[in-house]
Amino acid sequence: MDQFTLNLLVVGATFALYIGIAIWARAGSTSEFYAAGRGVHPVLNGMATGADWMSAASFISMAGIIAFGGYDTSAYLMGWTGGYVLLAMLLAPYLRKFGKFTVPEFIGDRFYSQSARTVAVVCLIIASTTYVIGQMTGVGVAFSRFLGVTKESGLYIGAIIVVFYAVLGGMKGITYTQVAQYVVLIIAYTIPAIFISLNLTGNPIPALGLFSSTSIDVAGVTAGQPLLATLEQLVTELGFKSYLSQSDTTLNMFLFTVSLMIGTAGLPHVIVRFFTVPTVKDARSSAGWALVFIALLYLTAPAVAAMARLNLISTIYPNGTAEAALSYDARPEWVSNWETTGLLKFEDKNGDGLINYVGDKDANELTVNNDIMVLANPEIAQLPGWVIALVAAGGLAAALSTAAGLLMAIASAVSHDLIKSQINPNISEKGELMAARISMAVAIAVATWLGLNPPGFAAQTVALAFGLAAASIFPAILMGIFSKRVNNKGAVAGMLAGLIATVVYIFLHKGWFFVASTASFSDADPLLLSIKSTSFGAVGALINFVVAYLVSNATEEVPADVQELIESIRIPRGAGSAVDH
């Protein structure tokens, strides 16, 4: 059986499974569509949150970015896990006690203001749509490779599948489907990593293999040296930047980590998960279980990154960096496969017919898109065909599950928080579901269109979405719970200031509405100090806090009944089941 048939078979089988589950659990009433009743066990909920959370950015993109960025990119690892500590302690238990369906609903009630609710909806839609663009980039990469088409065609095919599947089921379908997706994606991520780690270090656990010594000669470096030291030696010899030491500024790395962490805690599709656990107690442990399942991938990712880079170098310089590079005519099949997608390019600058892969930009002849590293990894390591097919299925599972969760969040914000609560309170249940489905379709169309020319690699685009959530939603919820002084005017002013500052900063660096030619600055030479657009969410959040505090102190106190609401969400007793609508 050839690789293409095998890919189709494995990907097809996993899709049949997800769609089967979605049909089996088809949403009936609106409350099921949004929040799946409230009977989901913390461990299952944690697994589903894991799938929801680990998107194309984590699965397809992150290890590739680390493979080429080294230590500097550790922010992705710390940022995307550290946010769960904030969620578990600062947000989840109280929002579960509050006991309604959506994030804008909490903000609207706590700040006793329809405008606050509307601003929250706007923040949510902007952050989530940016996030979906990142997913579509990942879906495009995965489909283009395994169907052997250009990345544009891959993107269109992916978009059709995402729509079909998110519109079909609601949250409940998605919760059980996501458990299945988690299982597929974690197996797909770890199996190749185990093979590669065994091959390079003899250690079957990739996370430990990363800090072990090599058991074979790699690219002319003799066995028995620590793996990371071997990698460092090779990248330095080829003139690339160091893998182990810091090249980014400490300020940017710090702010980027802050931004990813508080963005994690502020993303509505993750928070909404904690509305679906039975008790406040479960909300705390659910965050822990989610992180357990996420950590399985995140502890493996840095190993995948370093080992993929090592295997890439040893493919091109099988006898060491001092010897001649691989000739283009003798290139392995995976190189020509990825050339078809346009994501890997070879340009014979000096006309010697060899693939010269070096740090010097003018002499380097091989351009590898970061986003292909994880998908190409099993091929580079010459693993069996079924492993390659499995990784394709895993990458698609990651992208689809997150895209579906985000579309749900957008749909509920539009239909529930905007149309039903403000525009037409008498809308029928059927009409509300219809509005939800239309808003999903619009969001995916916009994301696909923007995904054709994405503002960065999948994980970088997603990082922008985190910055937006960090600057707008996280501070509002946090102040809503921990402060009795922040009032409606403060919250609205804070959210708007944080959101606008961050959006403008991003657009200045990535182009207005992500049209690259309209950018006035670049991340290589940013407007403020060394703060890149992906890190600005932390500054936006600070602006939000300061503005909300100042405006609240200059205006009236929070009314007594809202103060009572704040008192009540702080105490677990009496959570009961949530108010139905």
């Binding site: 230590y71 550790s74 690892l77 710390m78 896990t81 550290g82 769960y84 500590v85 578990a88 302690m89 600062l90 238990p93 996370a207 990363l210 800090f211 072990s212 010594s213 040296q225 620590p226 793996l227 990371l228 030291a229 071997t230 460092e232 182990l244 810091q246 400490t250 790395m253 710090f254 980590t257 802050v258 008790t279 406040v280 107690k281 705390r284 442990s285 965050a287 822990g288 992180l291 357990v292 950590a295 995140y298 502890l299 840095p302 008192e567 702080r570 105490i571 677990p572 007793r573 009496g574 959570a575």
Partner: protein, 85 residues
């Protein structure tokens, strides 16, 4: 009124536990992983230094321990104050 002061004491206890947890959270990620990495550069691990390990793996393990410790501790505090569900 007694109910209110109990609730306030519960809330202060919660905030104290959160504060302690977040100090550990900060030191193990932003601290050891970024700001204090130069101070850990003498401690070697698998071809690199301890700061690199904290940045890429150690912090994640600490986060896990923190969340479960917080959940366990708060369940006890809930019971002590009689505010459990």
């Amino acid at each position: 009124m007694a109910q209110n002061s109990d609730n306030n004491a519960y809330w202060s206890a919660n905030k104290r536990i959160i504060a302690i947890s977040l100090v550990i959270w900060f030191v193990c990620s932003f601290g050891f992983g970024i700001l204090l990495r130069p101070m850990l550069s003498g401690i070697g691990i698998g071809g690199t230094d301890l700061g690199f390990w904290f940045a890429q793996q150690g912090s994640i393990i600490v986060f896990l321990v923190l969340i479960f410790a917080y959940a366990w501790r708060m369940n006890k505090v809930d019971q002590d104050f009689g505010v459990d569900e």
